[in-house]
Amino acid sequence: MSKELNWMIGGPQGSGVDSSANIFARACGYAGLYVFGKREYYSNIKGEHSYFTLRVSPDIVRSHKDTVDLLATFDADTLIRHGEEVVVGGGIIYDPSQIGIMFSSVPTLEKRIVRELVEKLRLQGLEDNVKGLLEYLRNKGVRLFPIPYTEILKGVGKEIRQTQLSLLERMKNTLAVASSFALLDFELEFLEKAIRETFRAKAKIAEQNVIAARKTYEHVQATYGRTFSIKLERGNNSERRILINGNTAIALGKIVGGYRFQTYYPITPAADESLYLEANEVFELLTPSQIQENPQFEEANYLQDKGSIVVMQSEDEIAAINMAVGAALAGVRASTSTSGPGFSLMMEGIGWAGMNEVPVVITHYQRGGPSTGLPTRHDQSDLRFTIHAAHGEFPKIVYASGDVEECFYDAIRVMNYAERYQVPVIHLIDKALANCTATCSWFNTKAVKIDRGKLLSEKELEEINKNGGYKRFQFTEDGISLRSVLGQKGGIFWNTGDEHDEIGHISEEPVNRKLMMEKRMKKLDLAYREIPKDEKANLFGDLDSDLWVVSWGSPKGAILDAMDALKKQGISLGFFQAKLINPFPKDYAFETLKKAKKIIDVEMNYSAQFSGLLREHTGLEVRHKIVKYNGRPFSFDEIYYGIKKVLLDGDERVVVNYGA
């Protein structure tokens, strides 16, 4: 019996699959377990298949697996799509009323899936319906747990005085979760708490679901006893923890990091961040006494008791970036969040911000491209585009987070970079990060200070104006000039997308042009020098190894999990996780990797873009690549076996494809 559980629930979009997975995850969290959750869904509102996998363990888990221990379903599509993922000895919960459904009558199933399954079953002489499939799976050694959903629901209905079945149907999810708990012989109390907490705004619904859960739990335990071989046990956890996804972590980082203006145009998978911010647009502040000693306080003539962030749905992404830049000019920490298509529309705005040295953060959630691509699926294919975004040359910082926790702290950090170096910063996130759920330690809101760089007060401006006058783009040693903001007395400046002089007026004069180009580009050198190593990249594993993995962004979790497993087999690797992507941490990378005999690049894109970047900047050639581009994130298994394949067979290009 493994300590770890891989649980999956699936069902049509809009039927509550997500919230039941959240309940399950929360319950496990209450039980002191670590959770890693992965969410998959179509670009559709209702009816297409969606599913959620949860990996649960007393030890830390940072990725999902390709196999499922217990699959909870209530529709045929989920059974057909995922049945084969269940391990021998694993179990499937299903609604026996689905038995007769023919594969070909499920309209949401892609033809390939049906075709392949039918072939397989026919070979075994089985029917091409759910029944045939279940037989096939049972033959393979999977345990089947039919749950009479309708019957149980009717029972629940009686108890809560609700006879309309269509209203009760919504509780099917709870039934599936509770069945799972019963089979796993796990304490119901955690589930009850999780249900109550999830429906905290709707006490009545919460209680109804608790009743449904109890009834189901009893029924299942009565029916199947403790016959299922996989059990779930409490972990022991002493620290305070949260369960959170990437979108929310970024949003919280922005609130803590002092962002007070956020624009967005709806797009998956970025929009949830903005919606969370909007829902929390007014928030509490810490003790005002501390604030009054803040050097900034003197100029603010109002003692705040709440903070707030204006969240603005713009007419398009062009407006979104430019509104954020306009707000930044007025002195706000401003940002916008988007994904591929929206990012493509922001080029001009980003270039203008670069030219005018405006600090602004663009949180860019990569998704399946090109074009509209796979709007709700994962990819990491915008690396190069992000680095080279917009025509002309100007300094921009690109920074990539590797997990949910990093999302939070990095969101604060990237705005510090933006203001310190007066540049646009692109914070690279991706769909896998945005939509995964992970257990994290309670966020430490005092871990990162706020650094507004060379931002001036009116008092300072007064001083400057006494001594020769203020120039927004004054040439300086390090390229950074003092910054005033719109509305400040004594701080008047001009901005233009044209090349300009120190005050900000258009200038085509070639000597000034050269100096201005150098002034701006110098700031990147400064950032390169100043940003500490541990913000540039994370190193993991055996630093003396001559086997190194290089990667960036969300593959981190699967890589770390795979490294742990490989270590147990005596294979120890080093792992260079790049975070600062531009300016590229070339010395750190070179020093770290120069002695490596084998470097394996792990990336969720076709061209292994990071390996090109590495070679461009360090000359190091990455001979081995593990890549994936089918829209589904790397699993633990893919990295684990992928690395093994490289080590054993010497494969140069391992393309992995798992995930439904």
Partner: protein, 322 residues
């Protein structure tokens, strides 16, 4: 200390063509600001790209020369971040009604407090005289190899359909009149649009100063009969008085539209429409964020004396706690 006209001007070399209508608009803005005595540092002027969009460089206020067609989003961001600012967008017809017409439309819907001045010369000046969206179909200016293939927009109707609550038209060479419009636009709480007829002597030989002043049509006394006339002199009333009175509103709208279609022989300038009863975007925000006006984004304090963040997310974290 009283601010003088020179306080609003910069010593920057102005490179507009001799006789360009832009000069009159520039003066009108400067005079309006002087008369209103708005401190220069409280004013932020945004522009797009074009001859006209060089305007901010010639004014001694915060001057933000943005991207082609995009001045409004920049201006919106600044205004919402700091509602104390006086925000003006001064830009070209190609810029705002061509590539930027989407932002023009959506700004009206928001009714945020700013003043939009469009330099309406019928051409893309800075790229050498291509037709702008206000040039009529079939017209061929001297800069066009062939007659214009597109129908003109009616900026007044478009502004009305978009929701602007102050709509006016000025004439570049009548600075006395124009600066009054600009003052009214600035004073108006909400989105104010001023379409300014601006001769471009270099590329537009149709809508010239001479044409607007009717030098091609003399009366019996041999005096030119100007095409441009002032709405206010005809007793026209642009004001919506009772916002509840649907009939009044409809009647007014129809009047505005009728007036806006006048062209050729008689071209009205002045205030077409003013509705002071529509909430501004800032007010709408304040209905969600109670202390928005005193504690807007740009004025909030973010950290304590040790530069540590002061936002308290305990409430949110508790909801996520396991």
């Amino acid at each position: 200390m009283e601010l003088k006209l020179t306080d609003y001007k910069t010593p920057i070399h102005n490179d507009w063509c001799p006789g360009c209508g832009d000069f009159g608009i520039l003066s009108s803005i400067a005079i309006a600001l002087t008369e209103m005595q708005i401190p220069p540092h409280k004013v932020a002027i945004f522009s797009g790209i074009g001859c006209s969009s060089k305007t901010p460089h010639y004014l001694n206020t915060y001057g933000i020369h943005t991207l082609h067609g995009r001045a409004i989003p920049f201006a919106f961001g600044a205004k919402i971040a700091n509602p104390d600012l006086t925000v003006i967008v001064a830009t070209g017809d190609g810029d705002q009604l061509g590539i930027g017409v989407g932002h023009f439309v959506h700004a009206g819907r928001r009714n945020f407090d700013f003043t939009l001045i469009v330099y309406d010369n019928g051409v893309y000046g800075l790229t050498k005289g291509q037709a702008s969206p206000t040039l009529k179909l079939g017209i061929r200016t001297k800069s066009l190899p062939k007659p214009n293939l597109n129908e003109a927009l009616n900026p007044i109707v478009l502004a009305l359909a978009s929701g602007y609550t102050f709509i006016a038209r000025g004439y570049a060479y009548d600075t006395k009149h124009l600066k009054e419009l600009i003052k009214q636009g600035i004073e108006h709480k909400g989105s104010a649009f001023i379409d300014v007829l601006q001769p471009c002597p270099t590329y537009n030989d149709i809508n010239t100063k001479e044409w607007y002043s009717g030098e091609d049509r003399l009366n019996e006394l041999g005096k030119p009969m100007p095409r441009v006339y002032k709405l206010e002199e005809t007793g026209y009333d642009p004001e919506i008085r009772d916002p509840q009175d649907q009939d009044e509103i409809k009647k007014k709208i129809l009047e505005v539209i009728l007036k806006s279609y006048e062209w050729g022989g008689k071209i009205p300038i002045g205030v077409f429409y003013r509705n002071r009863h529509v909430s501004t975007y800032e007010e709408r925000i304040a209905s969600r964020i109670p202390d928005y006006y005193v504690n807007p984004p740009a004025k909030q304090i973010l950290y304590d004396k040790d530069y540590l963040p002061i936002a308290d997310i305990t409430r949110m974290l508790k909801e996520l706690e396991v």
